[in-house]
């Protein structure tokens, strides 16, 4: 099997091959950091999709919160379920978690129908509900112990504390933690039964940028532990940064689905090079003569769509050749936000 892992040290992403049920020591191809990775072993579920949703629908009176959606999440991937407020993300994820009853449709987790096998599925999933707050007057460690006792088989709490970088906080009361730490504890709680699939509903909403990045690190870490992650978010950067597979939900419908690259190449406008404060007329002229598509943005700025990166060098050397001065350049990458705006 293959695992796509992110280096906890430098963030580099790489795929590794291995036999299920084994552990190997690897070193990061980018920074050289060493680490151990394990390939999860599971006879029954090998090759089965982690989550299969078909024609799932939820009706609240006349409001259709989720409108007959279908998608599949593969094992080992971080799946981002991306959409604005009120799009139907929580409704969907809570139907998958058997917390809400669908009006229509079917959900299978690791090949099992949630209607008939949820008691069994409970042991294979860990969830972090939206805006989750745990017991305020238990310490971090007591909290993890509390939830772990509910399961017959559970993971090593010290190991989870270490992996989630919570060792220093273990004796602090949950109620006294910062928002970011609370969310990290929330993720840690979802791991106490060593689940195969982790559901995180907006784990970074309301956090400051630094705390958000720390939670991202923790989520990326889950992939390294071989977990499938179902991540709900309305932050484009979050999906960009973390997800292997993205579905965009809007008003109860999935309007686009695929990998980040898929989505950008299908719906993005491409990358744009912007040159600031040059002698506009000369620049446009010389670039147009050389076959570039140039747009004047006023104020002496110009923008040139570029399809491959060598183009940038060509443009810059052309300007240099003609002695055209400019203040600065930047390249705006096509991103999810643009995809989203195109689609809606």
């Amino acid at each position: 099997m293959q695992l796509r892992l992110q280096c906890p040290h430098c963030g580099h992403i790489e795929s590794y091959d291995g036999t299920p049920g084994t552990r190997i020591v690897v070193s990061c191809l980018s920074c050289g950091q060493q680490g151990q990775i394990s390939f999860p072993f599971n006879h029954e579920t090998a090759g089965v999709p982690a989550i299969e949703v078909s024609n799932l629908k939820k009706q609240y009176g006349t409001l259709t919160a989720v409108n007959g959606i279908s998608f599949t999440v593969q094992q080992g991937e971080i799946f981002a379920f991306l959409g604005p407020n009120g799009a139907g993300k929580t409704t969907t994820v809570e139907m998958i978690e058997s917390i809400r009853k669908p009006t229509q449709g079917q959900v299978k987790i690791l090949g099992k129908d949630i209607n008939t096998s949820f008691d069994e599925i409970k042991h294979r999933i860990g969830i972090l509900p939206q805006e989750f707050k745990s017991f305020e007057r238990l310490t971090v460690r007591e909290t993890l112990e509390y939830f772990s006792v509910l399961y017959d088989k559970s993971a090593d709490i010290d190991e989870i504390l270490k992996a989630m970088d919570l060792v220093d906080q273990r004796k602090k009361l949950y109620g006294n933690l910062s928002g970011g730490l609370k969310q990290r504890v929330g993720v840690a709680i979802s791991l106490v039964n060593d689940p195969d699939i982790v559901f995180l509903d907006e784990p970074t909403t309301g956090l400051d940028p630094k705390a958000r990045r720390e939670v991202w690190q923790v989520i990326a870490n889950l992939r390294n532990r071989g977990k499938t992650v179902f991540l709900t978010t309305h932050y484009m950067e979050e999906a960009e940064y973390l997800a292997d597979h993205i579905a965009i939900i809007h008003k109860g419908n999935i309007i686009a689905e695929g990998s980040l690259d898929d989505l950008i190449s299908r719906y993005g406008k491409g990358n744009v090079l912007r040159i600031r404060n040059c002698s506009t007329q000369d620049a446009i002229e010389t670039l147009r003569i050389n076959g570039f598509d140039v747009i004047s943005e006023g104020n002496g700025d110009i923008a040139i769509p570029i399809n491959y990166k060598e183009r940038v060098l060509e443009i810059l050397s052309q300007l240099r050749h003609d002695c055209i001065e400019y203040d600065s350049i930047d390249i705006r990458r096509s991103n999810l936000e643009e995809v989203f705006l195109t689609l809606t």
Partner: protein
């Protein structure tokens, strides 16, 4: 039901309780403070005491006795004229103390002057729920009679004072108050405890989280009840000990008392669940809890005997569960009226079954 899950949740509740100054105050300090304050108020009654006099003798001597009372400045005599049942009269007219001067009082004094002593007895009726003021008045009167005896017979007993309590045993206000305080405290902690569990924990996503873990509904409810019972017994023991040490209340631990405490815990936990079911916001639900429990506290005779209230309210009290808790506890642990206690216990058990079952059945565990 898995024992380790029950213990786990019970342990978490205790830790949470121990670490919360607010709940510690309401479950422990508040009842104790209330007992001390109420006890102090009702044991140190103020300067002037009303005393009703049923003067059957109506002689110059009896009039003189009354005017001496008046001159003390502490007693304020009111003469009445009763021929029928005195106890019933006192109850109806809401009279706490009454002295009866029998016919022949004047003659006895006259006879004593001429050397023949035939003792005569005055009767002092009093309401035991105002024990302290009644005993103060009693000691003033007997002091007066002592001097009278000295004056007429050089100390041989001529005029005696006999006590007649409107209840057969001598129970004071604090005896009445302690069981009420126990019932009230259990009611408060159970209502607020289960409101928290059904509103705050729902809002915070803890209930949703638990739905995806193997904990069962009965494990969750049962472990909470275990904790509520723990709190109820802690409160009972503390209130009992303070009542006994400070005010000398003698408390009997009886099986019926224990049954009532257990049933009361289930009763008000069920009521809290019902409130949390229909009022979703925690703060609003707490307000609703107060709006139900505070009037009930007054109307069910927790702090003041019901017979001091208007007839209509007394009838109304009989539909309030707390009324049966209060009466049951009083009869089972203080007055030792077994038959009455049994009836009250039965009523509490019925209320408990209804509220607890309704609470469990109506609580919505899943989201819409």
């Amino acid at each position: 039901m898995r024992i380790k899950v029950l213990i786990n949740d019970f342990k978490a509740s205790i830790l949470t309780w121990k670490r919360s100054k607010g709940t510690l105050f309401w479950t422990i300090a508040f009842p104790i403070i209330l007992i001390l304050i109420f006890g102090a108020i009702f044991s140190g009654q103020s300067v002037e005491y009303d005393i009703h006099i049923n003067d059957l003798d109506n002689s110059q001597h009896s009039h003189q006795l009354i005017s001496i009372m008046n001159e003390t400045g502490v007693l304020k005599p009111h003469t009445v004229d009763i021929t029928s049942n005195i106890t019933a009269y006192m109850k109806n007219e809401d009279i706490a103390r009454l002295l009866e001067i029998p016919k022949g009082y004047g003659q006895a004094l006259e006879a004593a002057l001429s050397g023949s002593t035939s003792p005569i007895t005055l009767t002092y009726y009093f309401d035991p729920s105002e024990q302290s003021s009644s005993s103060i008045v009693r000691s003033i009167i007997s002091d007066m009679l002592q001097r009278l005896n000295l004056q007429y017979t050089q100390g041989r007993t001529l005029v005696e004072l006999k006590d007649e309590s409107t209840i057969t045993e001598e129970f004071g206000f604090i005896d009445f108050f302690i069981p009420g305080m126990i019932g009230f405290t259990i009611m408060q902690s159970c209502i607020y405890g289960s409101i928290e569990r059904n509103t705050k924990f729902r809002k915070d996503g803890i209930l949703r989280k638990l739905l995806t873990t193997p904990i069962t509904r009965s494990e969750w409810i049962f472990s909470k009840m275990l904790f509520m019972l723990f709190l109820s017994f802690i409160s009972t023991i503390l209130i009992g000990i303070v009542g006994w040490l400070v005010w000398g209340v003698s408390i009997h631990v009886t099986p019926l008392m224990i049954i009532i405490i257990i049933a009361t815990s289930f009763l008000f936990s069920g009521m809290g669940m019902l409130i949390g079911r229909f009022v979703k916001e925690e703060e609003t639900a707490d307000t609703a809890g107060g709006a139900i429990s505070f009037p009930m506290m007054f109307l069910a005779g927790t702090f003041f005997p019901l017979d001091q209230m208007p007839e209509a309210l007394q009838t109304f009290a009989r539909v309030l569960p707390l009324y049966y808790v209060n009466e049951g506890l009083r009869n089972a642990m203080i007055y030792m009226k077994f038959n009455d206690a049994l009836i009250n216990t039965f009523a509490v058990l019925i209320f408990a079954a209804v509220f607890f079952i309704a609470g469990v059945v109506l609580t919505k565990w899943h989201e819409d």
